[in-house]
């Protein structure tokens, strides 16, 4: 059984039962899942978690749905990689990469979709739908197939080829919409009013869906030996992930899983071509002004971020920062992470790493901090971004001479034997 006590409006505090509701009927504020934390604390323990599945479902007691057989492709519990070589390049000390490229469909979205569709199925929905910049589309199509549900996925028409293929392959319906993500999102928000029998994972089921992102914080803390980082860097699209990472660390303390009260600075990462939250942070205002996105980081290209204000609030309360980086810096970020740590991230990961580098350079992220950077999607999804930037060193004939010529002047044949282990 779950420990959900209900839904509560973050704006006006009105409460609702745990149904397919995402906004307050009165003021349109977002609804937040509330839990009976006393009962969670009495049940949840480090031992219980460690004995659980190596997926997000090891943290089921703090998720909004309980199911012995959830809609699951194995999302979560991805590697937390110590990144000493990257740290050295950036002048940092203890740096870790949360490698969420390792999820089943290659992004953190598998966490939220596994939760959303498990809840949707429990509520009786047969059709899963979403508006997506690509990663969510991949994950909804895959998880719907896994669950035997129909899927209806709406994406902007100009997405990367891999994201379109990785959505279409699962046999659901995919609509490429002539417009930006914000246009697609608006269409879905309107469709949700007309098709109340469909589970739009990031509209009418969004309250539950968003809770899945807390598992990023849960996993990081567990993998650090039930300690929290001093500083995390989180990419911002809608702002939901950042908000939920903050909630996740706070909940671990609340239910008694940490020895020390966490004090985690949270910094947000945006691409300059779509940086409404970073702009508001820099200007010191509360108002998020919507923008028309223009960036290669398409998975973060949300000009009117639903949780932008809450992300800004979480950043400020934590003592973190928020910065934006150019598309050229995004590419450099992708290459830097690949070259130093062997992890190939999509453009959103490039945004995270470039922002990490920028804030480290400014002294905002310090060498005495334990730092975690959230790398949330796989590089194979956005190879277009690197076309013309990386490729073969040379194309050669299959001969030793051609190889030597291509290697250049420093290449010498040697008489030394091959290395052998002692």
């Amino acid at each position: 059984m779950d420990f959900v006590s209900g839904l509560r409006c973050r704006e006006c505090g009105r409460t609702y039962p745990a149904e397919a509701l995402h906004v307050c009927d009165y003021c349109f504020g977002p609804l937040e899942v509330t839990y009976d934390y006393q009962r969670v604390a009495a049940t949840m323990s480090r031992e219980r978690i460690e004995a659980g599945p190596r997926t997000i479902w090891r943290y089921a007691d703090l998720l909004p749905v309980s199911d012995a057989a959830p809609v699951d492709l194995g999302a979560g519990f991805t590697p937390l990689v110590r990144a000493d070589r990257l740290a050295a390049e950036l002048g940092l000390g203890e740096l870790w990469i949360k490698d969420d490229t390792a999820n089943p469909t290659g992004s953190f979205k598998d966490r939220v979709v596994s939760v959303a569709l498990t809840k949707a199925r429990q509520l009786g929905f047969k059709i899963a739908a979403c508006a997506s910049t690509g990663n969510l589309a991949n994950s909804v199509a895959a998880h719907a197939a896994r669950a035997g549900m129909e899927s209806v996925v709406l994406i902007p028409h100009d997405l990367e080829t891999a994201k379109v293929t990785m959505t279409s392959v699962y046999g659901g319906r995919v609509f490429a919409v002539e417009g930006s993500y914000d246009d697609v999102n608006r269409l879905c928000a309107e469709l949700a009013s007309e098709q109340p029998t469909w589970a739009f994972v990031n509209v009418n089921v969004r309250t539950y869906y968003a809770e899945g992102s807390k598992t990023l914080a849960f996993g990081v803390a567990e993998q650090l030996g039930w300690r929290t980082p001093d500083h995390v860097v989180v990419p911002i699209g809608s702002g939901s992930q950042l908000t939920k990472v903050a909630k996740g660390f706070a909940e671990l303390w609340q239910v008694g899983l940490l020895d020390e009260e966490p004090s985690v600075r949270i910094s947000g990462a945006q691409a300059e071509g779509c940086s409404p939250v970073a702009t508001a942070f820099a200007e010191g205002t509360d108002a998020i002004r919507p923008v028309k996105p223009a960036t290669i980081a398409k998975s973060l290209a949300i000009g009117n971020p639903a949780d932008g204000w809450y992300a800004l609030d979480a950043i400020r309360k934590s003592g973190g920062s928020c910065a934006s980086v150019t598309d050229a810096e995004v590419i450099e970020g992708i290459l830097l992470l690949a070259r130093t740590e062997g992890i190939f991230a999509e453009t959103a990961g490039g945004v995270t790493i470039a922002t990490l580098a920028k804030l480290a350079g400014e002294g905002v992220i310090r060498p005495d901090e334990r730092v975690v950077a959230m790398v949330t999607g796989h590089g194979l999804k956005t190879v277009e971004a690197l076309s013309g930037t990386v490729g073969p060193t040379a194309t050669i004939a299959p001969t030793l001479d051609a190889f030597a010529a291509a290697m250049g002047a420093e290449y010498e044949l040697t008489d030394e034997p091959a290395p052998r282990s002692a």
Binding site: E11, H22, V23, D25, Y26, C27, F28, G29, P30, A131, G179, Y181, D182, D183, N185, R186, C188, A189, E190, A192, S193, E194, P196, F200, N202, V203, R206, G237, S238, G239, S240, R289, P290, K292, I302, N304, P305, A306, D307, W309
Partner: protein, 90 residues
């Protein structure tokens, strides 16, 4: 007359209808006329200062009125206003 698309959350105010027609030459006038015809709208979509609530988006055809002139945006014949909950996506 301007057509107004009403989201599910507000259809209790329109007797269940997802689309109504009102008079108005600006977005603000049309929304006030909507409240006059279906009492309760103003309370739900405007904040204390008379602006749109933070989580209410209003579109004139394809464009968010925040990218236009807000409530002062003029409405031409044949255009449609849509009220859409802002919390979606991502």
């Amino acid at each position: 007359m301007v057509k107004v698309r009403v989201p599910a959350q507000l259809r209790t105010l329109t007797g269940g209808s997802g689309e109504v027609s009102v008079e108005g030459s600006t977005v603000g006038e049309a929304l006030k006329a909507l409240d006059a015809a279906h009492a309760g709208f103003a309370d739900r979509i405007f904040d204390e200062a008379g602006g749109l609530r933070r989580f209410v988006n209003v579109f004139l055809d394809d464009e968010d009125v925040r990218f236009l002139d807000g409530l002062a945006t003029p409405i031409a014949a044949g255009q449609t206003l849509s009220i859409v909950p802002a919390v979606a996506g991502g």
